[in-house]
Amino acid sequence: MLRDITLGQYYNTSSPLHEMDPRTKIIGVIVYMAVLFMASSLWEYMLAALFTAFLIKISKVPLGFITRGLKPLAVIMCFTLALNLFMTGTGNELFRWWIFRITDDGIVLAVKMAVRLVFLVMGTSLLTLTTSPIALTGGIERLLSPLRRFGVPSHEIAMMMSIALRFIPTLMEETDKIIKAQTSRGADFESGNLIQRVKAMVPILVPLFVGAFRRAEELAMAMECRCYNGGEGRTSLRELKFRRVDAMALTAGILLVSAMTALKLLKNGGLI
């Protein structure tokens, strides 16, 4: 189960998406999300799907890797599905039971939300799958740096994020080991009622937190020993540069937004 969390995992290969400047990708993801939320008609969803498929294709990340990131989201997915299904009041009633009524609008909305969520997760996982944590936080730092003037600690935010990302796999490994160790001592995580199950988590969570604090302390010490004292005057080993792939991404982004707008206009004009 733990292995299913692809968020923050980097898939190392070389592809146009991997080569792209992280800033381009971050902005790209934001645009992508905006476009997703703009989409409303079937055609627009098809466009979004096509574009997502295209991104996955050129990223060279195996599809299984991307879809695996969806599994942990199943709960949220079911929740939004149910919420939209039962709480939409408008439209023709199809089915009614007690206080629940299902309408055709509700079904359409529920499906749309689910599809949107799937694309959202796939698109954002692509960002972390194709961008090494260092590049990612470097990109965030640079994007945020104009806000320094207003007192936003961009370097510190980026550093915190990169450390957090760096420790996700370590903590997962640690969790795995603790689970095994407590299993070997007869701990049972699978049976019992909810309260018992939550209680059964204590032998995992306590060592995990203790370990996380110990690591944090050690890391802080190690960083200070190497004279780390914040972002002031810090330079980068790898300077970020705008290259051809970035220009191409920019073009693709503009194309996507224009296509989406065109579809909307066509729809409003009653042409499709």
Binding site: S184, R185, G186, D188, P207, V210
Partner: protein, 283 residues
């Protein structure tokens, strides 16, 4: 008795990061064995111990427990977990209870023993790992590193497993702590756990503690037999990134210098005796 036949285990199967950690390992653990497990870093020792303890997803190959073959590893794993207690590398990282007593009692409690039995087990285990009664009510997080390690080991020992496996229990201990721990293992093997497996990087520990040893190299079990036979193959061990105990290398040097010593000396004690004989013999 636990028997592994041709066991192969791959981490992250079907992924680019797939890694074969065990490759066709066959091993028979008889009741009463005291086995040393050695191998360089990444050779698959920890993976093997976890397979024996029934803690990993099913590997390829077959596993039988007490002469019973299991069609699938999952049912065997349930049996294995009951029988085998595994002390992980750095077990002190798994302490979690408010007091030492309660942490040691965690295992016996899960075994559904009665209160009296649990109390007996906790005190016995604490005594065996040399944790004084005054420490039982302390928080395990207030102890020293070595004490924590012993409490964690007590947590497994208290379950009285038939097979006790310790994955590098001496890592990071001072020489005295190490000696104490190894003697403790010898005592446990005598009358508490039928079978003990000691995983170690230290040839000295292996030479002084166990009679038989198994050597892992790149996921394969390459040697398995009496410690003397294994340490007689110095060149082979060196080719696998291991070595013979320091004292055997000194003895080899002495032999090369002309002293009539045996080549099968692997502990400082034995070397001292032999050399003393020669010195007294007036040569």
């Amino acid at each position: 008795m636990i028997e592994l036949k041709n066991v192969t285990y791959t981490y992250n199967k079907n992924e680019p990061s797939a890694r074969v950690a065990l490759n066709g390992v066959s091993l028979t653990l008889d009741d009463g064995d005291f086995l040393g497990l050695i191998g360089h870093t990444g050779s698959g020792k920890s993976t093997l111990t976890q397979i024996i303890a029934g803690l990993l997803p099913p590997p390829e190959g077959s596993v039988s427990v007490d002469g019973r073959d299991y069609a699938d590893y999952k049912t065997a794993a349930r049996e294995l977990r009951k029988k085998v207690g595994l002390v992980f590398q750095y077990p002190e990282h798994q302490l979690f209870e408010e007091t030492v007593y309660r942490d040691i009692a965690f295992g016996p409690k899960n075994q559904k023993l009665t209160e009296d039995e649990i109390d007996g087990r906790v005190r016995e285990a604490a005594r065996r790992v040399n944790i004084g009664g005054d420490l039982l009510d302390k928080s395990p997080f207030d102890l020293s590193g070595g004490q924590k390690r012993r409490v964690a080991i007590a947590g497994v020992v208290a379950m009285k497993p038939e097979v006790l496996i310790l994955d590098e229990p001496t890592a990071g201990l001072d020489p005295e702590g190490r000696d104490e721990l190894l003697s403790m293992l010898e005592e446990l093997h005598g009358d508490w756990c039928k079978t003990v497996i000691l995983v170690s990087h230290s040839m000295e520990d292996i030479a002084r503690t166990v009679k038989t040893a198994a050597v892992m190299n790149n996921g394969r079990l390459v040697m398995n037999g009496p410690v003397e036979d294994i340490f007689s193959c110095g060149d082979e061990l060196r080719s696998m990134g291991l070595n013979t105990p320091q004292i055997s290398r000194i003895v080899d040097g002495l032999i090369a210098a002309g002293l009539p010593l045996s080549r099968r000396i692997f502990t400082v004690g034995a070397a001292a005796d032999e050399i003393e004989k020669i010195v007294r013999g007036g040569r």
